[in-house]
């Protein structure tokens, strides 16, 4: 095939990919547009892996292009060795180099899996805030057990403060995901998972469920508002003026299937609610909820 | 030599294929054992293995099944000796023992369900019934197979095909015995000890 034609065909995808990258870089690429320490570390991991992969992609592409051009049948000047099918040297190279790359990445994997374990508490002098999360059909319930208030589909957290989430579901499996703050964790009925985050940038960050849980799952959107300490305290105070109260009875109403729910708050939530929700699914002698972590 | 029919059967492609099938059945049971291992403590407020299962019954079932493996093997020996009536004798013995095993098992299942301990009661009982029940289903298939096999041997005698059927059945029956040993150990013995 003519060289110009090849160049044309090759340049099309390159221009296309470049356009996509250009577009994304002018949008809110949430996984890369981080506002939390965990998300930032996870982003660096992603970028590092992408960088390492060049060590494989570049040689492969180069060889493919080089060999295709040089050894095509119409090129009479190239050497033809029909039985050359074995070379210790060459084979050692391509068993070894990928192995080295994988060893490097394995060390990174082991370390980062521990450092960025969602169950690991964040190192900080600031006293953490506890939030209990319950995935429902099809909205998110957030309980602040220490403040006895609750909120639907929206939470306020103070900047530079570790947040310790405890998460469960009173609905099918969901996944709690706020990309700009951290990676996700599954929420499962009868199980309590954990996630710790810290945000160092004020703003409003969108969250969603990352696991299909039925008809209304795409509408399970919530926002995490990172505010100053005083704004946070004011917000807590303001929730006290809500007329809604979350007890076992109103919870029963709440847990009925609804979609695309607008955020609202409860001025009071009963202390054992999260524990009771977990307890619905387990039945042991002391009715203790099961904690994740095999 | 007529002996060769059995030896030939064991060297046949069909026998190799059947071995591989047994392997797949092994994986099915392995999955069910994994399920039982995960769920056997999930009694959901109900009674545990220790409270529900009777060791004397399990032991009896084990002895019956082991003996039936013996009689099944004796049928193969009879086949090697080209003794048609002996083959049928030992096959009938195997059938009767297998049927007794199944009868005892079904009676126990019925008893449990009547007491309110059915597969609906808990994860533990679901996993118990499916593991032991699947084994019992295989025993039932073996019983039907023995009837068909017996009829073929009676009508067509010792042919390459009927001998292939006999060796495959024998492998199947021994396999069920092995699985039962695991069931006995994991479900009944460990359950009895409270593990």
């Amino acid at each position: 095939m003519k060289l110009t034609r090849v160049l044309f065909l090759v340049s099309l995808p390159i221009i296309f990919i470049a356009s996509i990258i250009f577009y994304v870089s002018h949008q809110n690429a949430q996984v890369f547009n981080t506002a939390g320490t965990i998300a930032k570390d996870e982003k660096n991991l992603i970028l590092f892996s992408m960088f390492l992969s060049l060590f494989v992609l570049v040689p492969v592409y180069l060889m493919l292009i080089l060999f295709s051009v040089k050894y095509r049948a119409s090129n009479k000047s190239s050497k033809y060795s029909p039985n050359f099918s074995h070379s210790r040297t060459v084979e050692s190279i391509w068993w070894t180099i990928p192995t080295i790359l994988i060893v490097i990445l394995s060390v990174v994997t082991w370390r980062s899996s521990h450092q960025l374990d969602p169950y690991k508490k964040i190192d900080s002098n600031v006293k953490p805030i506890n939030i209990q999360v319950v995935a429902l059909d099809w909205k998110w319930l957030f309980i602040y057990p220490d403040k006895s208030i609750a909120s639907i589909n929206s939470i306020n957290i103070p900047i530079n403060t570790p947040i310790n989430f405890e998460l469960t579901s009173d609905a099918p499996m969901n996944s709690f995901w706020v990309p700009q703050l951290s990676g996700q964790i599954y929420t499962m009925p009868g199980m309590s998972t954990k996630l710790s985050i810290l945000s160092d940038k004020k703003g409003s960050y969108s969250g969603r469920s990352a696991n299909i849980s039925g008809r209304g799952f795409a509408g399970m959107l919530f926002s995490v508002n990172v505010v100053s300490n005083s704004e946070y305290n004011n917000w807590i105070k303001s929730t006290k003026s809500s007329t809604k109260v979350l007890n076992d009875r109103s919870y029963e109403t709440l847990s009925k299937p609804t979609e695309n729910v607008q955020p609202f708050t409860y001025s009071f939530v009963s202390a054992d609610l999260y524990k009771n929700i977990l307890g619905k699914y387990t039945l042991s002698d002391n009715n203790m909820s099961k904690v994740m972590g095999m | 030599m007529e002996n060769n029919l059995v030896i030939k059967a064991e060297n046949s492609k069909s026998y190799l294929g059947f071995w591989i099938y047994i392997l797949t059945d092994c994986v099915v049971f392995a999955s069910l054992f994994a399920v039982y291992a995960t769920l056997h403590n999930n009694t959901y407020g109900g009674e545990s293995a220790q409270m529900l299962f009777s060791m004397p019954l399990a032991l009896t079932q084990t002895i019956i099944l082991l003996t039936s493996s013996l009689t099944s093997g004796l049928a193969i020996i009879a086949a090697l000796g080209k003794n048609r009536s002996r083959i049928l004798l030992w096959t009938v013995a195997t059938f009767l023992l297998g049927a007794l095993f199944l009868f005892l098992e079904l009676r126990e299942f019925n008893h449990l369900v009547a007491m309110g301990d059915s597969w609906r009661s808990s994860g533990f009982l679901s996993s118990y019934f499916i593991l032991v029940g699947t084994h019992g289903l295989h025993i039932l298939i073996g019983l039907i197979w023995m009837i068909v096999l017996g009829l073929i041997v009676m009508k067509k005698g010792l042919t390459a095909k009927s001998m292939k059927g006999l060796v495959m059945f024998n492998l199947f029956w021994h396999f069920l015995d092995v699985i039962w040993i695991f069931i006995f150990s994991v479900v009944y013995l460990m359950g009895h000890v409270g593990l």
Partner: protein, 658 residues
């Protein structure tokens, strides 16, 4: 009252659907109607049943698999178009053309159909066509079982498609995780349709797995020891080994899900002592090997193609064999990487992450071996090689994306996002599909005696490569932009819409690619006189299949070959070996309708299980059992071809005295 009980859960509402579903049902029904009309008009019913539907010839079974697979590929491709349309339109106040539940059924059906009926169908089709001839034998080890496998595949396919017309399909994704797939959250028959079509097709796959392992181990030509087999056959052996170890797990697991739904058991329920996480573990213990089941034969096809079109021996044969078995073993040690986000802890996540990366090594080794096969070869870039080039370019990107996802904390961000979707489509489309398309194009002359039109073949490959890039690069980007998979609606503030629209255009281009492929075949058949291949060896090939006439005769080889080396046909040509003319009478399996009957029984069993029609399921089961027993007792299952006929056929092909 009696009638209501007799029909289980079936009622009038089961037949009520929305307009898009009705169009789908209409297209299906009209296609069947017109096909029947054509068969009647051209008086081809007897030919259809006698020559094809009852055939135990592995080549015919292979062709039938491929035809069904391509139909299912088209159907699932149309699902993809609907999905892209929905996601391009459903922003802000617009809610697109599909209700959420319908959208969820569509993507569940898309994934299920693609994996189980398009990809598996293409795979078993090509394996059936090629393996016996590549190893120098006349048929598979168990020809009748082979027919049963195919018909069970068809039965599962029909059951799945019935869900469009009667009842509905699962909306729980292609793997139906509980608790969503339990009765409480999926109260309709949809999940049961999913369970039973997979159950039936799965048994077919399992039987094929056994069949091909015994075939490869026991039916190779004399002199073809294992290390002289074509690499494709090695890859099939590896894949079938995975089938026999993995599919029983699927069988067991979805049976348990069915029992939860039917009998109120508590295997995977939330509460009652059930454990939904157990399902996730089990289903992926099957699911991960499944993707290697699909890709290994595709790798094998590329091994054959690269060697043949580079006119050079495959580089690193031993290495390639070791790589296959490393992949087979390792594929059982990585399953947890599908749910790092379930919270198993850092040690467990780390272990599985590392194991996942290790499996990238043998895969990479294979790529380098193919490239070095090209090195110092004499390469012709016909259509199959274009597929190969596209595969290297695109599969590598998907592969490194996979290694990235294998780092658990990276996965925490990208799990269940469109980045993940782009990754696995890179693997399945540019790996599995490109490989099987290349194989069909490559071996087409052998089975039809017709050479495929090169121009259309290349155009098809270009459309697929280009279409793939346009359809899936935006999805990688969307993942980075925080887009979760399976969403039927989103906010315009996300900035996702333009990318969804571009991806939709990509799907259209892929559609053109599929059309070109089909056109290539139809046009080449239309021009069959000009395209006739009389040599049997249109590429100056290396392996045994090119030593026999095209189309391959029913008995494949008039004289079973005796093999000396790897790529023995090529060596024989170089050495100008003459054939040892030792003709013998041969026997081949007679046609049998039992496979078809078993399949009908399986459908009855499945349909009854879905709709709780006990008597129907019992009848279906009895039909299967009785058919099997009848076949076992049948003594008259073969027919003879005389050596005189073989001699005559050979004189026609080779000329006198050769």
């Amino acid at each position: 009252m009696m009638l209501a009980n007799l029909l289980g859960l079936l009622n009038v509402d089961s037949f009520r659907h929305d307009i898009i579903q009705n169009v789908g049902v209409g297209i299906m029904t009209l296609s069947i109607f017109f096909a029947s009309l054509a068969l009647t008009y051209f008086r081809k019913w007897k030919w259809l049943f006698g020559e094809w539907l009852s055939s135990l010839d592995h080549k015919k079974i292979g062709v039938m698999y491929i035809i069904v697979a391509v139909l299912m590929l088209s159907k699932a491709g149309f699902d993809a178009l609907l999905m892209r349309t929905q996601q391009s339109l459903s922003v802000g106040n617009n809610h697109g053309i599909l209700a959420s539940q319908h959208y969820q059924q569509i993507f569940s059906s898309h994934g299920t159909t693609m994996i189980f009926f398009a990809a598996m169908g293409l795979m078993f089709g090509i394996i059936n066509l090629a393996v016996p001839i590549l190893i120098g034998t006349r048929d598979v080890a168990f020809p009748w079982l082979n027919s049963v496998s195919f018909w069970l595949f068809v039965s599962g396919m029909i059951l799945l498609n019935t869900s469009l017309a009667i009842g509905d399909f699962s909306g729980a994704g292609w793997l139906a995780y509980p608790p969503l797939s339990e009765l409480q959250f999926s109260p309709t028959v949809g999940v049961d349709y999913w369970i039973w079509s997979l159950q039936i097709a799965g048994v077919g796959s399992l039987l094929s797995g056994i069949n091909f392992i015994v075939t490869i181990l026991k039916k190779r030509a004399i002199g073809m020891n294992l290390m002289k087999m074509p690499m494709f056959v090695w890859s099939v052996l590896g894949s079938m080994t995975l089938v026999v170890f993995a599919f029983p797990v699927l069988t067991a697991t979805i049976t348990l899900l069915y029992l939860d739904r039917l009998l109120g058991a508590h295997f995977f329920t939330a509460g009652g002592g059930g454990n939904p996480m157990m399902y996730v573990n089990l289903i992926w213990a099957w699911g991960h090997p499944e993707v290697y089941i699909l890709i290994l034969p595709a790798f094998g096809i590329f091994s054959e193609i690269v060697a043949t079109f580079s006119k050079k021996k495959l580089f690193g044969y031993t290495s390639m064999v070791w790589a296959i078995w490393a992949i087979v073993i390792l594929s059982f040690t990585v399953w947890l990487h599908h749910f790092f986000t379930m919270g198993a802890g850092a040690d467990v996540n780390g272990f599985f992450g590392i194991m996942t990366m290790i499996i990238a090594i043998p895969t990479g080794v294979k790529i380098f071996n193919w490239l070095f096969t090209m090195f110092r070869g004499k390469i012709t870039f016909s259509a199959p090689m274009i597929w190969f080039v596209g595969f290297i370019l695109l599969f590598s990107i998907g592969g490194v994306a996979g290694v990235l996802l294998a780092v658990p904390p990276a996965d925490f961000q990208l799990h269940n996002s469109l980045f993940l979707v782009a990754h696995f489509h890179s693997m399945i489309v540019s790996g599995v599909l490109f490989g099987y398309f290349a194989g069909i194009v490559y071996w087409f002359p052998k089975f039809s005696g017709i050479k495929l039109n090169e121009r259309l073949g290349k155009i098809a490959a270009y459309f697929w490569i280009l279409g793939f890039i346009v359809a899936f690069v935006p999805l990688y980007a969307l993942g980075i932009m925080g887009a979760t998979r399976r969403m039927d609606h989103y906010s315009p503030s996300m900035g996702w819409q333009p990318l969804f629209i571009v991806a939709g255009v990509g799907v259209l281009i892929i559609g053109l690619g599929l059309l070109s492929l089909v056109l290539q075949v139809l046009y080449s058949i239309y021009k069959h006189i000009e395209n006739r291949d009389r040599t049997g060896d249109p590429y100056d090939g290396r392996t045994l299949e090119w030593s026999i006439p095209s189309p391959a005769p029913s008995y494949n080889f008039s004289i079973l070959p005796i093999v000396k080396k790897t790529d023995d046909f090529w060596e024989a040509k170089q050495e100008k070996r003459s054939r040892d003319l030792a003709y013998k009478d041969i026997s081949l399996p007679k046609n049998s309708y039992i496979g078809l009957i078993v399949s009908a029984g399986a459908f009855a069993l499945g349909f009854g299980a879905v709709w709780h029609i006990l008597w129907l399921s019992i009848i279906g089961l009895l039909v299967i059992v009785v058919s099997v027993i009848v076949r076992t007792l049948d003594e008259d299952t073969e027919y003879t071809i005389s050596k005189e006929k073989l001699i005559l056929d050979d004189i026609q092909f080779y000329g006198e005295g050769k």
